[in-house]
């Protein structure tokens, strides 16, 4: 649950979108269509039947031809938030949910149509189409019903996800996926999604403080491994984590996908705006 103060800070921000909105009702995104907004787009010669209110009289006086002023058509954009709802998200679920709420709030206040999909092993949970600031309360109600559980096969669930409309897509996941998230991103891009990746990781995952002989149990699938958590073991883990994060970053970079690593151990409302600003999501 985000504070009102934080939400009011979000009011001044807008989600960045490289491409043009296409289709849908009127909104605040520039579309490929010319239309009736106040933003100038181009000139063209008059064709009978055109709205004479758009004739540029000054240009006609100068060139002795009738020109018509064209304006941008502003349309709404579709924003989809894919929230990883696997068991591994349990520890950082609160942070992931806050991120989803923040992105959704930006989408709703930006006049976009929003859909939040919670990716789960036993079938995705999908929110209704939401639009307008007043839909934020419904969004929260929807997120309240989502509980992280089950094994997470991110690529598989993303590829099975239906009902995606061309637009922005925010993937919020810890990205624990054999083979990386490249395939999942490619699948989304293929379906017209302009992706951004937000990766929340808990403080334990970023800097585990373990000691002694431990039997680690995976919260997703119950798998166990025995670990002698000595200095070398922790060093190995840190090296593996660095490789893992670098791999995710490079995967996103190659696909021109904004990426943000979210430390669940820190205060979300303090970290969020600088983080997505730096990553180019707003």
């Amino acid at each position: 649950m985000l504070s009102d103060a934080f939400l009011s800070r979000l009011d001044t921000l807008q989600l960045a979108m490289k491409g043009r909105a296409s289709g849908g009702a009127g909104g605040t995104r520039r579309s490929r269509q010319t239309g009736s907004s106040a933003e100038f787009s181009d000139y063209r010669e008059y064709i009978p039947g055109d709205d004479i209110r758009r004739i540029d009289w000054n240009a006609m006086a100068r060139f002795d031809k009738i020109f018509l002023k064209l304006f941008m058509e502003e349309q709404e954009s579709a924003v989809t938030v894919l929230l990883d709802g696997s068991g591994s998200m349990g520890e950082k679920w609160e942070t992931a949910r806050q991120a989803a709420e923040a992105v959704s709030y930006l989408a709703l206040t930006g006049g976009d149509r929003l859909r939040v999909i919670c990716l789960q092993e036993n079938g995705n949970r999908m929110s209704p189409q939401l639009s307008g600031r007043q839909a934020y309360a419904r969004l929260e109600q929807f997120l309240d019903t989502c509980v992280p559980e089950g094994a997470g096969k991110l690529t598989e669930t993303v590829m099975k996800t239906e009902g995606l409309r061309r637009g922005l897509c925010f993937l919020i996941s810890d990205c624990y996926e054999e083979g990386g998230i490249g395939t999942a991103l490619d699948s989304l891009r293929y379906r017209g999604q302009e992706c951004a990746v937000i990766q929340p990781l808990s403080a334990f995952e970023l800097d585990p403080s373990l000691d002694g002989a431990l039997k680690l149990t995976d919260s997703e699938n119950g798998e166990t491994i025995n670990l002698l958590a000595d200095r070398e073991a922790l060093e190995n883990y840190r090296r593996t984590l660095e490789d893992f994060l670098r791999d995710i970053r490079e995967t996103c970079f190659r696909r021109e996908t904004p990426y943000a690593l979210l430390d669940a151990g820190k205060n979300f409302e303090e970290e969020w705006i600088p983080l997505i600003s730096q990553s180019g999501m707003i």
Binding site: G87, M89, E205, A213, L214, K215, D218, N226, D230, A233
Partner: protein, 522 residues
């Protein structure tokens, strides 16, 4: 047939079981739930990839350790592969004093003889038996006999000495015998209360640890005797008595802690010649409970010498127990000396010069002939070859020792000796006969104290009393080993053990590049 020379090490067979238990009880892993083991698996996989022996180590370490412990236990038991063909047996008997130790009414030597008899009964017909008796010296009392009765008789005739046993020498001799017989197996069996069996040489232990006290040392001087009593058993209080010349003069009680010694001082008569000290309480080894010693007297004798004769002084100094005092010819009796030597012509050696029996002429004359030695203690070893004389004063009195013609030039009694010429008138001091003559005279008149020592019974040697009498209870060490012969497997097993140790070392070793910090994966 497989036999074991040291079956007492069978306890070590529990070692492998202990290793298994340790494996079962090894480190417990505390459960901890983590969001995902995804990264940990990868980290561990990388770690394992750096340890190619890791998997092998995990799978093989326990069996290797198990095997190593098993092989070690078997090696300690000294297995032998035996055959039953007629061969040769060398029996070595420890005849040290400690074999007299009595346990359950029987001394250790008797027990060893019984065990030897048992062994004898189990020998195949035609087996040759050699018996070595290891006392202070090693004797071969029976050589290669197949006659059972001869063998039994030879064993029965063995008796203990009062000293130690040179087992090492006996074993060396037995091994030499074995080397001679390369075509037949030769078994060596040592019957002892202290021998520890080693590869190829079986040992049959006789006796068990018993309480024992012994007289460790005994010294006696004029007026006192000092005995040191060793306690080879538990804390005790003993009564130590002292006899001087066969008469009891003192008895004292003393407390001696376990394994310690205690000194006891006795007062004895000044004129006692021999003392004996004994412990009244009976114990396992009676032989070391009594010791005798002669009373030592002051050994330095004083010789009063008049005149100035370097040759004579040099000859006297050969006896290190003499103190030579120069004195005047007029006042010799004022010097308290054991022997007086004075006068140049004649030369007189006397214990009491006031009572001399010798007389001699007033004037010197030329010798009547060449010098000849009479058979006497004074001339023992003298040749008098090339001894020349310029002038002499013939002697009368005493027994003649050296003559020149009919003239007596040297004579002696029990307390005196005289030479009837001046040394400077003769070349005798330059001959090797001169020191011999002087020593003969000294031996007659001042015999060495050692020669007066009465015969005594010295304490049993310390090493016999202490270690052997209280030998640890290793009874029944290896009767099975006595039958062992043929191929000794101990060496092979030890080799296998070392090889397994090496394998375990290699498997257990960390990768060279990451010596510090043990690996994460298990």
């Amino acid at each position: 047939m497989l036999t074991f020379a040291a079956p007492q090490f069978a306890w070590f067979l529990l070692l492998p079981a202990g290793i298994v238990v340790l494996y079962l009880l090894r480190r417990k892993y505390l459960p901890k739930q983590v969001p995902s083991t995804f990264l940990w698996r990868t980290a561990i996989r990388d770690h394992a990839a750096n340890k190619p022996l890791q998997r092998l180590r995990k799978n093989i370490l326990l069996p290797v350790q198990f095997l190593a412990a098993l092989v070690l236990a078997l090696a300690l038991m000294q297995p032998n592969l035996t055959g039953r063909e007629a061969s040769r047996t060398v029996m070595i008997f420890d005849l040290s004093a400690s074999m007299q130790t009595v346990s359950a009414g029987k001394n250790r030597l008797d027990e060893a003889k019984d065990r030897a008899e048992e062994l004898l009964q189990g020998l195949p017909p035609g087996e040759e038996v050699t018996i070595l008796a290891a006392g202070a010296e090693v004797r071969q009392t029976l050589t290669g006999s197949t006659d059972r009765e001869d063998i039994r008789q030879a064993i029965r005739n063995l008796v203990c000495g009062r000293e130690g046993a040179d087992l090492e020498r006996a074993i060396t001799l037995a091994e030499a015998i074995r080397r001679e017989e390369t075509d037949r197996g030769t078994r060596i069996v040592v019957f002892s209360d202290s021998y520890t069996p080693k590869a190829g040489i079986a040992g049959i232990h006789a006796g068990r640890g018993e309480e024992n006290r012994g007289v460790y040392t005994l010294t006696a001087e004029e007026g006192s005797a000092y005995a040191r009593i060793c306690n080879f058993g538990g804390d005790c209080r003993v009564t130590v008595a002292c006899e001087a010349d066969g008469k009891l003069c003192e008895a004292k009680e003393t407390e001696i802690p376990a394994g310690e010694t205690a000194g006891v001082l006795f007062t004895i008569p000044e004129n006692a010649v021999k003392v004996a000290v004994y412990i009244r309480e009976a114990d396992a080894l009676a032989a070391d409970n009594r010791a005798e010693a002669p009373v030592e007297r002051s050994t330095v004798r004083t010789v009063a010498l008049t005149g100035d004769n370097l040759f004579l002084e040099s000859a006297l100094r050969v006896r290190e127990d003499l103190r030579i005092v120069r004195t005047s010819e007029e006042l010799p009796a004022e010097t308290q000396a054991d022997l007086y030597i004075y006068g140049n012509s004649p030369l007189l050696f006397s214990r009491d010069p006031s009572k001399t029996v010798f007389t001699w002429g007033e004037t010197e004359k030329e010798p009547a002939g060449s010098l000849t030695a009479e058979e006497s203690p004074m001339t023992d070893g003298l040749t008098l070859r090339d001894v020349a004389l310029r002038a002499c004063k013939p002697l009368t009195g005493g027994k003649a020792a050296i003559r020149a013609g009919n003239d007596v030039l040297a004579a002696y009694t029990d307390s005196e000796a005289a030479i009837g010429f001046r040394l400077q008138d003769s070349n005798l001091p330059l001959k090797y006969d001169f020191p011999v003559l002087v020593q003969n005279i000294l031996n007659m008149l001042l015999p060495r104290s050692a020669e007066e020592v009465p015969e005594t019974e010295a304490p049993v040697s310390r090493e016999e009393s202490d270690v052997r009498t209280v030998a640890s209870d290793t009874e029944g060490a290896d009767s099975a080993a006595a039958g062992s012969r043929g191929q000794d497997l101990t060496g092979i097993l030890m080799g296998v053990f070392l090889a397994l140790l090496m394998i375990e070392f290699i498997l257990a070793r960390e990768p060279w590049s990451r010596r510090k910090g043990k690996g994460a994966a298990t």
